[in-house]
Symmetry: C2
Subunit: 158 residues, 2 copies
């Protein structure tokens, strides 16, 4: 996790890729989104999606996992460089989440972010707020997922 | 699933409740959001949340499950009444998702929605669009989760 002072608008971070398989799509859907087009290949073929596809919440949860893994790797790399990184702050929520296209069984989605705004916190001088567009792109280069995130980022100790 | 014509602004639907346990919080987090305050009680006590709490994506996925169960029950009740219900349409996404308070192990969250706007689809005469505020309230009456949803709803056949 970088410090607020190290970030600039336009910075892109690549979080990594997630393979949506028939198995993990169905497993997630059985617990959290048991609709026919997320559970059953034949029913999905007859649905308006035309094939077995992931719950939108699965697409979102997989993105979260990639972000957490990315932040952990950054954190550990900082430790390895002899720095004392601070953990990131919580996210108060996000805006404009869009499931732009279905994510089908067999699709690989690559998640990334681009910083769109950086704002000092008026009330919490030890934190800044980072606004970023998070996107997920499939193996055909099609954007399937996006949202606008905001997160508290630690400022450099003075 | 009711028809578009049967809905009106202000209609409230109760989707049901979900109990967040230590076990299901940790299980979700291990797969999708492995941060210390979602994984480990001791680490969580030392975090700014002050206790083991659910991933925001878990709060969202549990809400989806309750909505799907609710819609299924509505669908089956319509079948039982001798009606021929249509399945609901897809959701194009949502806006303004907020995790307002932490959801701690042991909390029960009750999800509901209130219709805020109904719009005919200009391009798809067989569908209307329903806008609703979805909320999650814990056992103390505190709102912990909300977002603004939109969904295509079938219109009554003419």
């Amino acid at each position: 996790m970088a410090y607020f002072e190290d970030m600039k608008i336009g910075d892109v971070r690549e979080f990594g890729s997630y393979l949506f398989t028939k198995e993990n799509i169905i497993r997630f859907a059985q617990k959290y989104d048991p609709q026919p087009f997320h559970l059953d290949e034949e029913a999905a073929k007859k649905s308006l999606f035309g094939g077995l596809c992931a719950s939108g919440w699965h697409t979102g949860a997989a993105c979260m996992r990639k972000i957490v893994d990315f932040n952990k790797a950054q954190y550990e790399a900082a430790i390895a460089r002899g720095e004392k990184p601070l953990p990131g702050g919580p996210s108060p929520g996000f805006k404009n989440l869009k499931w732009l296209k279905p994510v089908f069984a067999g699709d690989t989605v690559t998640y990334s972010s681009e910083i769109t705004e950086l704002r000092e916190s008026a009330t919490r001088p030890q934190w800044g707020i980072m606004f970023a567009k998070i996107i997920g792109v499939n193996q055909n280069g099609e954007r399937v997922y996006e949202f606008d995130s905001s997160a508290f980022i630690p400022r450099k100790p003075k």
